[in-house]
C-alpha cells in the first residue's frame, strides 16, 4: 500500500495557528478508533492479528500515550492520573479532536501505521525530510492569512527550485522541505498543502468558531486525497 504522511503544523498557543495540530490530533484519534475496531473485530473472529493492538508499542500506541500523557499533567497525585479522560483535559483542542472523531464517519480502517503517518508539529524542521522521502503523498496542513476565516484552500506543492540564502532556519516552508528531501535522498513525493484562513493569531488556546467549523472539512479533504492516491 502507498504511504501517506500528514504534517499538521502551527502553534496551538496562537489561536487559529493551532489548526494544523488540531487536525493532526483529530486524525490520530480516528486512527486509534479504527485500530481499536480492527482489534475488536480480530478478537471476535478469534484471531490474534486483527491489524494490530492499540495498546501495543506501535506508532498508534505512541499517539495514544501522547494524548493521554498530555492529559495527565494537572496534578501530582495518582488519583488524578487515573481519573483523566477527554472530559478532564485542559486543552480545548482535545475537545475539538474528540468531538470530530466521534461524529465523523470512520473511513480509515484500511490504513495501517506503516501506510498512514500523521504528525502534529510546532513547525517544519529539517529532519522531516527523511520522513518525507519515505512517503508517496505528503499532506501539509497549516493556517493561512490569505484565505477568509474558515475558508479551506488546497494547492499542489512542488520542491523549491532555487531557495534563497534565507530559506533555511529552524523552520522551513513545505517547498524547501520537499527540495531538501529531493536533493538529499533522491526522491520527492506528491505533496499538497491544505490551508485554512485564520480569524485570529492572538495569544490563547482554542480555535475560532469559523476555523473549528473547518476542521471536519479538512479531515474530509485528507480522506479524499488518500482515496485519490489509492484509486
Amino acid at each position: 500500500m502507498k504511504k501517506v504522511l500528514v504534517l499538521g503544523y502551527g502553534n496551538p498557543l496562537r489561536g487559529d495557528d493551532g489548526v494544523g495540530p488540531a487536525v493532526a490530533w483529530a486524525l490520530q484519534e480516528r486512527l486509534l478508533t479504527a485500530e481499536a475496531q480492527r482489534a475488536q473485530r480480530g478478537r471476535r473472529e478469534g484471531t490474534e492479528s486483527g491489524g494490530g493492538d492499540a495498546a501495543g508499542d506501535g506508532i498508534l500506541a505512541q499517539l495514544a500515550s501522547e494524548h493521554s500523557g498530555h492529559k495527565s499533567q494537572l496534578s501530582n497525585t495518582p488519583e488524578s492520573i487515573n481519573s483523566t479522560s477527554p472530559d478532564h483535559c485542559s486543552n480545548p483542542l482535545c475537545a475539538v479532536s474528540a468531538s470530530s472523531a466521534s461524529s465523523a464517519p470512520l473511513r480509515f480502517q484500511a490504513y495501517s501505521e506503516d501506510s498512514f503517518r500523521c504528525k502534529a508539529l510546532h513547525q517544519l524542521t529539517p529532519e522531516l525530510a527523511a520522513d518525507i522521502a519515505l512517503a508517496d503523498l505528503v499532506i501539509f496542513i497549516d493556517a493561512s492569512c490569505d484565505n477568509g476565516p474558515g475558508e479551506v484552500a488546497s494547492r499542489r506543492v512542488v520542491p523549491e527550485s532555487s531557495p534563497s540564502s534565507t530559506s533555511f532556519s529552524h523552520q522551513l516552508t513545505p517547498e524547501v522541505l520537499l527540495a531538501f528531501a529531493e536533493r538529499l535522498y533522491g526522491t520527492c513525493p506528491e505533496a499538497v498543502l491544505l490551508s485554512v484562513g485564520a480569524a485570529s493569531f492572538e495569544y490563547g488556546e482554542g480555535l475560532s468558531a469559523e476555523v473549528q467549523a473547518a476542521v471536519p472539512v479538512l479531515l474530509d479533504r485528507v480522506q479524499a486525497a488518500c482515496a485519490a492516491l489509492h484509486s
Binding site: 500523557g69 529532519e127 534565507t166
Partner: protein
C-alpha cells in the same frame, strides 16, 4: 562625518528574532554595538495564579525548539516545592531525555545553521552559503545532520510521547517507566550515530585552522564561565552543583546552592533589549560578565567522564593554557558534547535498573519556594517559583541560558564588528561575520511565533537625517 548607525535586522539562521545595531564613528569605524532582542514573552507573569503542577507543561511552551530543557528545569523546581528526592531511575530517564534534547539542538545549530559558513567560508556568495548549497557540496554532512537531529527527536518522542512540548516529565519524576523494546531500539542505533558524531568532529577539527582570524576575534576575551558540574567535578547536564571559573581556569565559586543563586547572580536590564543581562554580583555590572553553554561547560569541568569525549576534551583543553576563550570554539565544544551525550545515553540505558517501574515520587507541596537548575543546550537554565498555601504560583523568575550569555554576546559583536566592519565600504562578508559570532553562541530567543520562513538580512547605513547612504539586502 557624524555618527551613523548600521542595523542588521533580523539576524538570520538563529532561533528567534533579534537585531544588531552598529554605531559608526567619524572615520567609519565601529564604535559601539548592541545585540537587541525584540520580542517580549512574559511567561513569568502569565503563570501567576496557576497551580504549580501545571508549570512543567506550561513552561515547556516557552519554546518550540528546546521545550525539554524548560520542562526539566521546571520539573526540578517543582520537585523542590514537593520536597521530594525523585527515584534514581526517574533522574536517569530525565537525564537521557535532556541529553537527547541537547544532541538534537546541537545538531541543528552546527549542521543546519552554522556549517555552511565552515563549508564555504565566511565571504562566499550567500546564494550558495546556506543549507541548500551544502546539500550539493557536502550531502553526506547534510544527511548526517538530519540523522543526528532525527535521532535526538526520536528519543524524545519515544520516551516522552511527542517531540514538541512533551508531558512525560512531571513533578516527582516521570509518568511512565521505559519499556525494554524502546531501550533496545535506542541502543541498537548508537553505533550509527556515534560514527556520525565522530566523523563530524574530525571534519571540523580538520578545517579549524582555516579560520585563524575568526578564532582570534570571535568573542575571544577573558570572562568568567558558569555551569553545573557533578559530584566529581565532571561534565554534567542534568543535576549537580553550580561552579564559576575565571579566565585562567581557576575555580572562584564551587558548589553554591541553586536556591542561593540570587546571592551570586544579578540581573541588569538594558533599554534596547527585552533580554536581561545577568552578571556575577561580586564583580558587579558589567564587569561580572560570564559565559555559559558548551564552551563554558567544557571549561569548568575537571574531566569528561566518558572515554571518547574525554580524549576529545583533552585535545580541546590543550588549545589554551587556562580556559579556552574564543567563542568560535563553541562549535567545537558542541560537537564534543554530542559525543559525550551519546556515550552517557548508552551508559544509562545499559544500566541494570533502567527498566525499573519506580519512576515517580508522590507528595503535596511541602515548600513555598523552589528552584530548578539544569543545563540546556545553550547553557544553565534556572527556574525559580514561589507558591501560596493552595499551591498556586505567586511569583516566578526564569534565567535562561541565552540571557546568561547576553553581555558576552554584546562584547563579542563589538569585537567582531571593530575588526571586520568598515562603515565606508560595507561588504556582505563583514556583516555575515557579525551574525556568525552570534550564531556561535546559538542563542535561542523563544520563537513561538509562526513566521513565514522568509527572514531576510537587511542592513542599512543611515546618515543623521535618516537618508540611506548604503544598503545591503539578501
Amino acid at each position: 562625518m557624524a555618527r551613523q548607525t548600521i542595523t542588521i535586522d533580523p539576524i538570520t539562521r538563529i532561533e528567534g528574532h533579534a537585531k544588531i545595531n552598529l554605531y559608526l564613528g567619524e572615520n567609519g569605524h565601529v564604535e559601539d554595538a548592541q545585540f537587541a532582542v525584540t520580542q517580549f514573552r512574559g511567561f513569568e507573569k502569565l503563570c501567576e495564579g496557576r497551580p504549580f503542577s501545571e508549570m512543567p507543561s506550561l513552561m515547556a511552551r516557552i519554546c518550540g525548539i528546546c521545550p525539554v530543557s524548560h520542562l526539566i528545569a521546571s520539573a526540578k523546581a517543582c520537585d523542590a516545592l514537593l520536597g521530594v528526592r525523585i527515584p534514581e531511575n526517574a533522574a536517569n530517564l530525565r537525564r537521557v531525555l535532556n541529553l537527547a534534547q541537547i544532541i538534537q539542538s546541537h545538531a541543528l545549530s552546527f549542521f543546519h545553521l552554522s556549517s555552511p559558513d565552515f563549508q564555504f567560508g565566511m565571504d562566499y556568495d550567500p546564494a550558495q552559503r546556506n543549507l541548500f548549497g551544502l546539500l550539493s557540496a557536502n550531502p553526506q554532512l547534510a544527511r548526517d545532520g538530519v540523522r543526528l537531529r532525527q535521532w535526538g527527536q526520536q528519543i524524545i518522542e519515544w520516551f516522552a510521547g511527542k517531540r514538541i512540548h512533551p508531558s512525560w516529565v512531571v513533578p516527582g519524576g516521570v509518568n511512565e517507566p521505559l519499556t525494554e523494546e524502546r531501550r533496545d531500539q535506542v541502543l541498537a542505533s548508537i553505533p550509527e550515530v556515534m560514527a556520525i558524531a565522530v566523523r563530524t568532529l574530525d571534519w571540523f577539527k580538520g578545517l579549524m585552522d582555516g579560520f585563524p582570524e575568526e578564532v582570534r576575534t570571535f568573542g575571544n576575551f577573558p570572562s568568567l564561565f558558569m555551569g553545573l558540574v557533578n559530584a566529581e567535578g565532571g561534565l554534567e547536564h542534568y543535576d549537580g552543583r553550580l561552579r564559576i571559573t575565571d579566565a585562567s581556569g581557576r575555580v572562584i565559586e564551587d558548589g553554591f546552592d541553586p536556591m542561593q543563586y540570587s546571592d551570586y547572580i544579578g540581573e541588569a536590564v538594558e533599554k534596547f533589549s527585552y533580554l536581561k543581562s545577568p552578571y556575577y554580583k561580586k564583580l558587579g555590572y558589567p564587569d561580572g560578565i560570564y559565559r555559559v553553554g558548551p564552551l563554558a561547560r567544557l571549561n569548568i569541568a575537571d574531566q569528561c567522564g566518558t572515554p571518547k569525549a574525554a580524549q576529545e576534551w583533552a585535545e580541546f583543553k590543550a588549545l589554551d593554557r587556562g580556559a579556552v576563550l574564543s567563542s568560535f570554539y563553541y562549535h567545537y565544544a558542541r560537537l564534543i558534547e554530542i559525543v559525550h551525550g551519546i556515550e552517557v545515553i548508552e551508559r544509562i540505558l545499559t544500566s541494570p535498573d533502567i527498566l525499573s517501574k519506580h519512576v515517580r515520587a508522590f507528595a503535596g507541596p511541602n515548600n513555598r519556594e523552589g528552584v530548578g537548575v539544569s543545563e540546556a543546550p545553550r547553557g544553565t537554565l534556572m527556574h525559580h517559583y514561589r507558591i501560596d498555601e493552595q499551591g498556586l504560583i505567586t511569583w516566578a523568575n526564569l534565567i535562561i541560558a541565552t540571557g546568561h550569555n547576553n553581555l558576552a554576546m554584546n562584547k563579542a559583536v563589538l569585537q567582531v564588528a571593530k575588526h571586520f566592519v568598515d562603515g565606508t565600504h560595507l561588504q556582505e562578508g563583514m556583516l555575515n561575520r557579525v551574525e556568525a559570532v552570534i550564531r556561535a553562541f546559538d542563542p535561542c530567543l523563544s520563537c513561538s511565533t509562526h513566521a513565514d520562513g522568509s527572514m531576510a538580512l537587511h542592513v542599512r547605513l543611515l546618515d543623521p537625517a535618516g537618508e540611506v547612504v548604503s544598503e545591503i539586502k539578501r
